[in-house]
Symmetry: C2
Subunit: 219 residues, 2 copies
DNA sequence: TCTTGATAGTGTATAATATACACTTATTAG
DNA sequence: CTAATAAGTGTATATTATACACTATCAAGA
């Protein structure tokens, strides 16, 4: 070996989801030092024969019971002193969970994993504040030029629900008619033909993502 | 140590520059196995007490004699089999060199480093083709919504020169008057007050980047 | 010194896109 | 059958993007 192999490599995952009109992130409570008892991003060390994204998916499944999420690589954090135990490089991932599948979180050691509103975050372990901040920025900027927001929606959804998600992420109210015109022009959703009847009012048409779980870029 | 520390971490740098109206990338010829004699991206292993970006800058200086470039992290490549010698994670960086400083490249072991036109690339070592491809995409998309292209310009430049760079990167001709209106509206360049006299024609006003070596995002 | 050739520099009209804005429709509950 | 609630729709205006052609300044050379 002509090179030194003395890094540990980990993945950390920032999982966002919308719950009760709020942007939530999934955190785990650390069970051991360092930062024992503190909140941290789910994640863990990459195994010798495991790819980076595979590691992220496995750690998510193990620590939080979640599987089958949208996942994209975010950034790598490799400051010399970011982990007191040694030299640890973390490859951070941004993950999005479809609304309505929150029950899965209750699986396994769920007592130690919890959805927390991004607007009410505790101080996190390691440099996880920085990672989460970068993930939030990626999310809010990328919804403007891609179909990323659809990854937060259930398989079928109404346009009013999609608009709400955009409003939560952009932090401002959107005009209903203009929003619908834009969505129609983007060709990323299509009517399923079914309707949702939900109360004493006109039923809403249901839509689904044209490109399934792929993210497309809008011209 | 409660975790396995058996990764080698490297940085690889995709340095772009414009030379004679062409987009060029700086490659080095490998002097040892694996891929001995093949072209590769400059880069090398991160030292125990060295940050990722510091490593990228040091390797660039050592292998190509270049310093003081614009640098941004691109993506991390960690496939299990990407290096036959062992498990190597590479953090790739995108670097841009200001035009007119090419002489620096002739320094040191320059025989083994060379600017090659992106349109006439050889097959590269490792997964460096993939890395270079991703860097090219980042560059060409990002110039549309940021002041990134200014990092390819010398300290002082004319608007015609800036337009040429945009035309090379976007691959299409731009209208002179519209280009100048856009540039003026972006507030990222300012006249220096000097002119460049270059031949039997009206001299061109010289401009410089308002934000120096920082990249700003255009609304 | 006058003509030619070369690049710098400038404005306007039209098309396309984005924004602001209010009423009608379908349904359930009482 | 009336009231309440959310779904669904179009148009006029403002803003932004595009297409397009001539004048200005200089150096070289006749």
């Amino acid at each position: 070996m002509i090179f030194s192999a003395d890094f540990a490599v980990a993945t950390d995952i920032v999982v966002f989801s919308i719950l009760n009109q709020e942007l939530m992130v999934l955190l785990v409570k650390r069970g051991s030092a360092p930062f024992e008892g503190a909140w941290a991003l789910p994640g863990g060390f990459v195994r010798p024969n495991e790819g980076l994204e595979s590691c992220a998916r496995r750690e998510l499944e193990e620590e939080t019971g979640l599987s089958d999420l949208y996942l994209e690589q975010l950034y790598s954090f490799g400051d010399v002193d970011r982990d007191a135990r040694g030299r640890v490089l973390s490859v951070a991932y941004l993950a999005l969970m479809r609304a309505g599948s929150h029950k899965a979180t209750a699986a396994r050691d769920a007592a130690d994993s919890q959805w927390i509103a991004v607007s009410r975050l505790p101080k996190l372990a390691f440099d996880h504040d920085k990672i989460l901040d970068m993930a939030g920025n990626r999310l809010t900027t990328k919804i403007k030029y891609s179909s990323l927001a659809l990854q937060l929606m259930p398989d079928e959804f109404t346009l009013a629900e999609l608009q709400q998600v955009h409003e939560i992420l952009s932090g401002r109210a959107l005009d209903k008619r203009n929003f619908r015109k834009q969505v129609a022009a983007q060709n990323v959703v299509i009517e399923t033909g079914y309707e949702r009847i939900a109360g004493a009012h006109r039923p809403a048409a249901l839509y689904r993502a044209v490109h399934g779980r792929d993210v497309v870029y809008l011209e």
